[in-house]
């Protein structure tokens, strides 16, 4: 944070931009899953942030507890979280697709409580923080300001996942299936698409993405059982700004929220959260379908 009265230099602005980007890309992975699940199945999953929390705990267990390689830990955390998402979809979420959205929010809120307490049973209520993997130790110097390698990795990972997802949805046959199911479930079914399977796969994927984001966060943010409720609000803000169910919108929304928090710290110290809530409210009032949504 800059000293009071000091001039704002270009280097500060750029450095803070990088900080914002790394924040954006961590949030993007969470918001992407949230918005896909909403776009395809029509469920707004309040417990999606809890997948992030589970991913972080799994990542910690694999990396610290079992002393696995960092990459394997990330993969393992994503898979485990994805499987939990799949189980929840098969046993519970599929029963609420047709319910009023109020009930979806309430039921999935119940899951925040359940998953939070289960995590407390397994991992205790201590804050857990993993050491930085050796590959990423150290800083890079950008215009005289230092910036951790690890944040660069997070930025790269977010962009990579985004590009892969976009390619899969645009080009692959599975992308066509997902898009068809999102557009019109009945029509897709009559074309012989197994929509129930599609929903399950989407939930698996969405939960795995959140789990990956959570596992990636363990070297720079301590995990505890409250992390789910904190992250879900950010993810909601992002999906609302970009348009509910809109994947490109979620990417743009994540950029806006990440950069707004980073520059908010610079220009309105202490009020960065307020700035983001204002952004969310303004978008909802002026263009409730989101910045990239269509009427």
């Amino acid at each position: 944070m800059r000293a009071k009265g000091a001039e704002l230099s270009l280097a500060d602005v750029i450095n803070q931009g990088l900080v914002g980007l790394s924040l954006s890309m961590d949030l993007w992975l969470v918001a992407a899953g949230l918005t896909i699940a909403f776009g395809v199945a029509g469920v707004l999953n309040f417990a999606h942030g809890s997948f992030y929390m589970l991913g972080a705990y799994f990542g910690y267990t694999f990396y610290q507890g079992l002393e696995l390689n960092f990459w394997l830990s990330l993969l393992g955390a994503a898979i485990c979280t994805g499987l939990i998402g799949l189980i929840l979809e098969i046993t519970l979420f599929r029963r609420i697709y047709k319910l009023d959205v109020a009930y979806q929010l309430i039921l999935t809120f119940g899951f925040i409580l359940i998953l939070g307490d289960l995590a407390k049973m397994v991992w205790g209520s201590m804050f857990l923080l993993a050491p930085m993997p050796e590959v990423f130790q150290g800083m890079i110097t950008v215009m005289g300001r230092t910036f951790p390698y690890y944040s660069l990795f997070v930025i790269g990972a977010g962009i990579t996942v985004g590009v892969l997802m976009w390619m899969a949805l645009e080009w692959g046959w599975w992308g066509k299936i997902v898009r068809a199911t999102a557009a019109d479930r009945e029509m897709a079914e009559s074309m012989g698409i197994n929509t129930a399977l599609t929903f399950s796969a989407v939930f698996l994927f969405a939960a795995a993405l959140a789990g990956l984001a959570g596992a990636m966060s363990i070297p720079w943010r301590a995990v505890d059982t409250g992390v789910g409720t904190a992250i879900i609000i950010q993810a909601f803000i992002i999906t609302v700004i970009g348009g509910l169910g809109n994947l490109k919108g979620a990417f743009v929304g994540a950029l806006i929220v990440g950069l707004a928090s980073a520059y908010g710290i610079l220009f309105f110290p202490g009020m960065q959260l307020f700035v983001i809530y204002v952004l969310m409210a303004v978008v909802l009032i002026v263009k409730p379908e989101g910045l990239l949504g269509e009427r």
């Binding site: 959205v101 109020a102 039921l107 409580l113 809530y277």
Partner: protein, 362 residues
């Protein structure tokens, strides 16, 4: 003739209900005497939360709007009351200013919120509630930041010559009982008034009400403002109980408490939220003695309720004890047959195909 016949069949119901109301008040009156200081403390909390939950259900159950920001108005009432009482220890002034502040704020925010329904309404109220939370958190000079406002006085209630000392927790409990009873009674009258009927009509079919010439916007705004004001009132009562105002009063997880209480008791019945708060608090009291994982049980209960028991406890009671049910035509706060079709009682979405704005292409 027909008119007469209706009133005559209605009377026993009304009689039963008023008798029940009297019994409940009597049972609540003996709590400090029967359960000591801890029971009084718990009862005080239940009373305040019950009022909060009933006001919340004016939005969810009667207007079909799920607000995730009611804690914001609760906190505004609490903080304004606390500030005023710290400056001028005068009870009526503190209460009035807290309620007025919550009313004004909910009127202004309501103008923006009630343009939307469904998920957009929920998200917008969530945003405003959290905005209030972050202002309270950061505006240290006024709100005390994360320390909150401590040592809020609880001045005596003075009405002209008559003065009642409230500093005793038992006396304050009876004061709360009086406030809650009045508040709940007024809300009961409200939901059975033409305004209440219009709101329920809006909940079930917005178009039909609009076609009959009523202003959808104005009715929802009135409901939102009333709900916000009563939430603020509950906040003022709470801050005088605990003598402490803290930022988490405005956090969205506190907004979730009346939601869960309402869901447990039953969304489509007037008494649902009250019963829900009772169940919530007493179940918690018992469960935390056996296990620290109270939230796990609470969450599981929520899941079971949503999946299989959406009418809530009160509706189940009404089904087994028909004389408790509100006769249709007297406000219709949820007879069973009606419950099957409207969205807040947990039926399927009335418009199975959501509007296109809901699901943009991926």
């Amino acid at each position: 003739m027909l008119e007469q016949k209706q009133t005559s069949t209605m009377w026993p119901h009304r009689l039963v209900r008023y008798t029940l109301f009297g019994i409940i008040i009597m049972v609540l009156s003996i709590i400090p005497w029967a359960f000591g200081s801890y029971g009084t403390w718990l009862g005080s909390n239940v009373l305040i939360l019950a009022l909060f939950a009933v006001s919340f259900n004016l939005l969810l159950g009667y207007s079909g709007l799920l607000s995730f920001g009611q804690a914001g108005f609760f906190a505004v009432g609490a903080y304004v009351c606390a500030k005023v009482l710290i400056a001028v220890p005068w009870l009526i002034l503190g209460l009035a200013s807290g309620v007025l502040a919550a009313a004004l704020l909910s009127l202004v925010l309501g103008c923006l919120c009630v343009r939307h329904t469904r998920i957009y309404f929920s998200m917008l109220t969530l945003a405003f509630g959290m905005m209030i939370h972050s202002v309270i958190w950061k505006w240290r000079a006024v709100t005390g930041g994360d320390d909150g406002l401590v040592n809020v006085p609880r001045p005596p209630l003075s009405l002209g010559l008559f003065q009642l000392e409230l500093n005793n927790d038992v006396t304050y409990y009876y004061f709360l009982l009086l406030c809650t009873a009045i508040g709940v009674y007024l809300l009961w009258r409200l939901v059975n008034s033409p305004l209440g009927l219009a709101l329920q009509g809006l909940r079930d079919s917005e178009q039909r009400v609009a076609f009959s010439g009523l202003s959808v916007y104005r009715y929802r705004l009135v409901a939102f403002t009333i709900a916000g004001s009563v939430a603020g009132f509950a906040g003022t009562l709470m801050v005088m109980l605990t003598k402490y105002a803290y930022p988490d009063m405005a956090h969205w997880t506190f907004s979730a408490e009346p939601i869960m209480a309402t869901l447990m008791g039953g969304v489509s019945t007037f008494a649902g939220p009250i019963v829900g708060v009772l169940i919530l608090y007493f179940a918690k009291e018992i469960i935390v003695r056996f296990t620290e994982y109270w939230l796990l049980l609470l969450g599981s209960t929520v899941v079971v309720l949503v999946l299989g028991f959406r009418g809530g406890v009160v509706m189940a009671l009404q089904q087994s004890l028909p004389f408790l049910a509100t006769p249709a035509g007297e406000g219709g706060t949820g007879t069973v047959s009606e419950g099957e079709t409207n969205p807040t009682t947990g039926g399927t979405r009335p418009d199975a195909e959501p509007p296109p704005a809901d699901r943009s292409s991926l």
